[in-house]
Every structure is written in C-alpha cells, then in structure tokens.
Amino acid sequence: MAYVRKNAAALTANEKRRFVNALLEVKRRGEYDAFVRTHIDYYTADGEEGLRAAHMAPSFLPWHRRFLLELERALRRVDSSVTVPYWDWTRDRGTTSVPWTKDLLGGNGRKSDRQVTTGPFAYAAGHWTIKEGITDGKYLTRDLGRAAAPIQLPTRSALQWALDDPAYDVSPWDSTVTRGFRNKLEGWGTGGGSASWHNHNRVHRWVGGVMLGGASVNDPVFWLHHAFLDYQWYRWQQAHKNHRYLPATQPGPGDKQRGRVVARLDKMPPWNVTPDSLEDVSGIYRYA
C-alpha cells in the first residue's frame, strides 16, 4: 500500500511534530550527516571529468528521487507514520509562511550572522549541530529572499514553462541545454545574474545560507524542496505520456558525453539502480 507525501501546508500539528522528531532522531543517530556527505561527493560539475549522477545531468531527477527515498526510509525506521512533505514554493512564498514556522523548520536567519534561532533546528535548541559543512560554522544559516539583493521564488508560470516541454532532456545532457524538462526544472540558465537562475537553482539561492552551498542537505528544507521537484517529475509524466527518461542508451562512440551521463538502463551510483526502475514509484508513495 503506497503511502502519501503531503503538502507541508496541509500537515496537522501532530504530523509536523512527528516529522520533526524523526529528523532529529536520524540526526542524533549519526545517519543524517552521511546524507550530507553523499550529496557533496556526488556533485560533479559538467566542466569537470567523470560521471555526473546528481546534477547537471539527466539523472538529476532519479538520483534525488532515490536520495529522498533513502532519507524517508531512515525517518520511517524511527516513526513508520512519517513521510517527507513537500514545499510548494509557487504558493507559499513568504519568509514567514510554510515551512518557516516554529513548529516545522523554524524561521529566517538573524541579520547579524544569518543564524537560524527559531524552531527545532536552531543551534541553541541543541539538536542540530552542523558537522559536514563547507565552513566551520556549527549552526544552520538562512538568508530568505536574499536580503542584500532581493529575489523572488520561481513563479507558477516558470514551473509551467518546464512542465510544458515534452522532451525529458536533450543532448549534450548538461547545464548548457536550453530545451528539455530536466534542465528547465534544474534551472541552469545562460548568462549571469538573477535572471539566469531558474526553478530548482533559484530556490536554493532564495533560501540562501547553507542551502546555497555543497552541503545544502544540512537545511532540512532540502527534502521539502526536492519532494516538490519529484512531484513535478510525476506531473510531467502525466502530461507527456508518450515521453520517458532520456537518454535511452549511452551516447555513441566519439560523443563527449559518453560515460559521463546515466542512460535509462545504466546503474546509477551510489545505489546501483537504474533510472528505468525509478520512473514509476506508484507502488511506494503518491503525492496528495
């Protein structure tokens, strides 16, 4: 029986409390920091050598789908009623709206040092010390909306622009492609400045603080953000039923992307599962 991932705005007080407590327990057990590390280790940029599994690649969506499932399994070992909620940033767009409330993820960072001082993940609460960070800061940081040069979260129409593209992804399958659902959702644009940050990337930028760096998993909003993106993959599939994950097979000999992207039936590290096996997860969970 598939379980349900809910909109964070629709959670009851009890569901919020159980989700938060499960996260804190996974952190206490030392499991959470391994998730942070995995995300750092698999961030290979497309101007570098090697296989890109997690970002700037077609497997951006299946990689994060599996990553979410791993976290969700860890949470459900603590409390089998818990699922990962999603944050619909096209609707909940303020710095004090869901999920930035004291009973869920806590609020914005304070002005002086961006330290999150409210909610269950505030450093002073004693349960959320950052160990796998880019800097030596021990506390969670946020800069919602980027105070120094404000930006807005992606709009509903920006998300729709991605969903309307019938191609899952296109060659050369990296951050330079201007067509395809995957990069329109992942959000690598051309040129500089805020106009070049789309959907997924723009949300990381909007939250700021640790969410902007390689160790973004340290902010639990990472999971709510990626659950919403995962939901969009499902919605895209529903809208384009004749289209699937691409590339179906490895790029041919002589193609610079050969061996650098995960094709539909290739095994995706670190789990050795194929994108093909992650296209339909209706037997595991559904979105409500």
Binding site: R29, G30, E31, D33, A34, R37, T38, I40, D41, Y42, Y43, T44, A45, D46, G47, E48, E49, G50, L51, A53, M56, F67, E70, R73, S112, D113, R114, K131, E132, G133, I134, T135, D136, G137, P172, S175, T176, G187, T190, G192, W197, H200, R205, G208, G209, L212, G213, G214, A215, S216, Q250, V261, V262, A263, D266, K267, M268, P269, P270, N272
Partner: protein, 160 residues
C-alpha cells in the same frame, strides 16, 4: 552506525578511498607538491601564462570585505589530471572551485550559481561566508571520475 571524528560514517569514508582519490585528498596532495616545488601564489604570478591566458587567467591576491582571497592557475606540471586548474584560498583556507561546461566557475560555498572568472567566484563565496566563519580545512569536494555502471557499489554510508 559508527561515526568517525569528522562526523563522517566510517564506512562511507573507506568506500570513498577505495575508488579514485577524493577531492579532499587531491587537494592535500596538490598543496604538498606545490610546497615541495617552492610554488606560491606570488611565484606563480610571475610565471609566463599560457598563450590563451587573458586577464581571466591572471593570479590574484586581494582583500575583499575583510577577507584575503588568493588564487593562481596551477602549473600543469604539478596538476593532477582530476584536480582543479585553480588553487584558491580564502584567508589561507582552500576554496574548491568547479567548472561548468560553458566555462564559468562555481565554488563549494555558492553551488547553484556560476561566475565568469575564478576571482568572481571567490568574491561571491566571501559574500556568503558568515562573519567569524572560516572555510573548513580541506574543504570537501566531489569524488568525480566515476563511470556509469561502475560506481562505488556500496551504499556510501546511506543504508536502506
């Protein structure tokens, strides 16, 4: 799960080392070899740059918003194939840069935006490093170099 000194699951650390060296290890080796050859940013700055090197390839050493940022193009002779072309430090701590396919640069601090030059990426990183904070020594970076179907095999510390 057994947790090592850095908060990293011991199993995960070991699995990384079984594969290609991690960026952390590459950085460590690079610093050692650069030191052995007596290279320093100031020396590198006076070395002839590659013919293609315009202003964007020039070494820099400047103070930006109270932080000292230094960077130099690592000479190919001491550069590992899978190491970065640039050695960047903020207040003496390494800042790992990654390159995008369009030639722009991004740092571990600011991972979802890329910049035209290494110095711009370093400045953007300083903008995001909070007051009183420093980059961790041997700032983490990706393992890279994996091939489809020949990944690490294990769960990399994340277990179902």
């Amino acid at each position: 799960m057994v947790v090592g000194t850095g908060g990293v699951a011991v199993g995960a650390e070991r699995q990384v080392r079984e594969g290609k060296p991690s960026r952390r290890e590459v950085t460590r080796g690079l610093l050692a070899s650069a030191a052995a050859l007596g290279l320093a940013p100031v020396v590198a700055a006076s070395r002839p740059l590659p013919p293609s090197g315009g202003a964007e390839n020039r070494a820099f050493d400047q103070t930006y918003r109270g932080h000292r940022i230094q960077g130099f193009l690592v000479p190919a002779a001491v550069r590992r194939a899978d190491a970065g072309e640039w050695q960047i430090t903020v207040d003496g701590c390494p800042l790992h840069l990654m390159r995008r396919a369009d030639g722009t640069w991004m740092s571990m601090v600011d991972h979802y935006t890329s910049y035209a030059t290494p110095v711009e990426a370093a400045r953007a990183a300083v903008d995001e490093i909070g007051p009183g904070q420093r980059l961790r020594e041997m700032a983490p970076g990706p393992v890279g170099g994996e091939r489809a179907g020949h990944g690490m095999g294990g769960m990399h510390g994340v277990r179902a």
